[in-house]
């Protein structure tokens, strides 16, 4: 799972690939449609799509005669999970800092309260 996350972050480190993901969030698109707004070849877009595919971010579908690219939203859930957990831990730490700052005078000295904190 961590390996996939690395691939996801690596894939999204590139601005063109982030644009492609943003475009696909609106709906599926063909490689040609994805390449249209850029001043680069369809081949170059295909290369970017390979990286996104490798990270599990997109899949190719063959609906009717139209081969289109589809965004796999689940992978973003994985990334969000990691960031949320990290956020929780940071926030816990900052709540303790809030409590400490409440006991601090303007000079930054801590006025001890009833709770004994030092060992």
């Amino acid at each position: 799972m961590e390996e996939q996350l690395t691939l996801v972050f690596g894939a999204l480190a590139d601005p063109t690939r982030r644009d492609i993901v943003a475009r696909l969030a609106v709906g599926d698109a063909t490689v040609g449609e994805l390449a249209a707004p850029y001043d680069i070849s369809v081949q170059a877009i295909s290369k970017h799509l390979k990286v996104l595919e490798g990270a599990g971010l997109v899949t190719k579908t063959a609906a009717a005669q139209r081969r289109s690219v589809h965004l796999e939203a689940d992978v973003f859930g994985l990334m969000t999970t990691w960031i949320e957990r990290y956020q929780r831990q940071a926030e816990e730490r900052f709540r303790r800092l809030d409590a400490l700052l409440e006991q601090m005078d303007q000079d930054g000295n801590v006025i001890p309260t009833t709770q004994e904190t030092s060992s």
Binding site: W82, I83, Q87, A90, L100, L101, G108
Partner: protein
């Protein structure tokens, strides 16, 4: 109440950004981040003991602390590159991965009305390293099954 901390994984460089507002002055926040008596009161993970080994909080100084949990000791050390009224720049190494060093910058922006915004970011040397750090919960990597570290610990190499 302050808004909860906001976390962003930087898309362009291997860094993690944290933003958080505090009801305090920049000077009070700098004090809370640099006073060796105060730092262990809040910075260490909950339910753990953070013991300062050495702590020379000045530009060019160095620091080290040991995190003790259930008989397991994890060391962390680094240098204070710069400490000013509104900014702290320091390095950070977890001794379980001694070759990895993060560059940490904390900027304290006075918002007025007794509020200060902390923007802290950690820059590491690769996206892989950043993501492993993010995935591990950053604290120490052991929280929830950081397998490589567990193996090192089991082998008695940390």
């Amino acid at each position: 109440m302050s808004e909860p901390a906001r976390i962003e994984a930087d898309p362009t460089v291997p860094a993690i950004h944290i933003y958080r507002d505090f009801r305090a002055t920049p000077a009070q926040l700098v004090r809370a981040h640099t006073d060796p008596e105060l730092v262990p009161l809040w910075m260490g993970p909950a339910r753990r003991t953070m013991e300062v080994d050495y702590w020379d909080a000045r530009s060019g100084g160095s620091w080290r602390y040991v995190d003790r949990t259930d008989g397991v000791e994890l060391g962390f050390h680094g240098c204070f590159h710069e400490i000013s009224d509104s900014r702290i720049v320091q390095t950070f190494t977890f001794e379980g991965m001694p070759e990895a060093v993060a560059l940490e910058t904390m900027v304290f922006q006075d918002l007025g009305d007794g509020m200060t915004r902390l923007h802290a970011w950690s820059l590491v040397d690769s996206f892989e390293g950043r993501d492993a750090w993010l995935a591990s919960g950053m604290e120490t990597g052991v929280n929830e099954g950081y397998a490589a570290l567990d193996a090192l610990l089991a082998a008695g190499r940390v």
